[in-house]
Amino acid sequence: ACGASNEDSGSDSGSGGGSDSAAELSGSLVGAGASSQQSAMEAWQAGFEGEYPDVQFSYAPEGSGAGREQFINGSADFAGSDAALDEEELTAASERCAGGEVFELPNYISPIAVAFNLEGVDELNLTPATIANIFNGTITTWNDPAIAADNADATLPATAITPVHRADDSGTTENFTDYLHQAAADVWTAEPDGVWPLEGGESAQGTSGVIEVVTNTVGAITYADASRAGDLGVANVAVGSDFVAPSPEAAAAVVENSPAVEGRGEYDFAIEVNRLTEGTGEYPVVLVSYHIGCVEYDDQEKADNVKAFMNYVISEDGQATAAENAGNAQISDTLREQAQGAVDAITAAG
């Protein structure tokens, strides 16, 4: 009687899209972690709740670190994380999973755009070194020869460059600095880190924060999830001899061709993104966000719920809805097959 009007009707129509097993699932499913995949998660959640209306689903986008921690200490059933578990975490996670294995599925892939606000300029070609020099403050005006060299057609004003970075600890920053660290090693010496490694400069909270600042500040430039760049200008990044624009396809392509991390479990598909790729149509500034969970849960209900959710996430339907809402790249069939194996393996102990 006290429910929202959409919730009552939700459970009615929900059975329409669901399978026969839908009615069997109940209880709760708690996820926590990366905020980067929040938009996609919304779509997955909606779809999942449509199929399994009796499952109490929640996902707290409190950050990857928080997600991993909550997964490890048991307050979350699965984590969303922009980074794979490190060794230490892996041990702890395995303990949490009754000594069993952990799955890590790269289910959310999204290109990071280098976005800027410059009147009359919608597109720029930038090399990794130029990007690094802009963000470390070496290049201070837009008409700098280093930029002009790659952009013969553009009319570059003498406007000062205001580089804007994330103020919070973020997976986007980690992936972006990892890219700079690898692709522009001689200019960018700082280690990859979720916290912006340089002192000073303009900073803002969250993806929407940096976008907001750049939108309001002429001459500003930042890095952000490509789907959120909106009206801002977006740079093409040098890959080999080409300049590649950020696109879901280009992002998915680079992930598919990246090597797996060595020495992980059977269902642990942590990858090492190939930032130095020279492949055509591959965009190396990409963020990969994982879903992390146990292969074996203590509790049958949990196992069923996680399994059902992951099934939906990697399904074509799930990937398509997410892409529509979040603008991310859909996983390739290869990745899906890989993931399906893991999802099928999820069971309850005993």
Binding site: A160, A167, D169, E202, A204, G209, A220
Partner: protein, 317 residues
Amino acid sequence: MTATKAPTEPPAQQRTVRRPGDRIFSGAAKGSGIFILLVLAGVAAFLISEALPALTAPSDEIPGGEGLAGYVGPLILGTLLGAVIALIVATPLAVAIALYITYYAPRRIAAPMGYVIDLLAAIPSVVYGFWGLAVLAPELVPFHTWLADTLGFIPFFAGPASTSGRTMLTVGIVLAVMILPIISAISREVFSQAPALHREAALALGATRWEMIKMAVLPYGKSGIIAGAMLGLGRALGETMAVAIILSGGAGATVNLISNSNPSTIASNIALSFPEATGIDVNTLIASGLALFLITLAVNMLARWVVNRRADFSGAN
């Protein structure tokens, strides 16, 4: 004359018979007070126990690699800068507003005016954050440039002026707006209670309205103003979301208020870093929270000292 007697004679109150109702009620009142102390002790215990690992950790394990002082120092500076700007801007404004509403505004519009100002307190800090980011900061960019050009010789305005306006100065102003209703509501309350007896005494001596206020209203309301300012300062020191959203922080210690590199504040830094923090990072953040706690303690001691200095002359009774 009583010096010899007083110690042997127990105070009258101790012999006093008290009825059950009184005992229960005063017990409940006292219990509540003690409960508050316990809560505070709980918070302090929580802060100290969680901060301890960071306090004892070697300095290269603390984020930034320069030790706890190196990490927390700039944050303390940022916190104080923002809060002090807020207090300096807000207190005179709030007192003026309270005076305007109680003694200047036409009576019919005074009450709605007070109400409208109270509304400012109702706006959640997230909204302040986005207003500050989207509306105020861009508006203040020219002001920043002007400050850098004309007052650049003062270290506070050394510049270079921020191009986005998301500076400590802007944060201070937003915080001022946030604490304005707190200070003005309490000031208003005490101003309006300034006894007519004393106001009329002043007027009858031929005081103008302002002189009447100086003689009979402000002294009476002083402790109220200070109480309000302290509440406001508490809020400004601890404000989290608005600062996190507006401030372009993360720089080291600088008193430059108008550049795009600003020290962060303790509270906003906790909010920004906590979700992704693990291990010693968490302890470090909580240690910074402990520092904030100690600052509040110091500020309050100072305020109390100021208020008590002339307690004999306070308006009460």
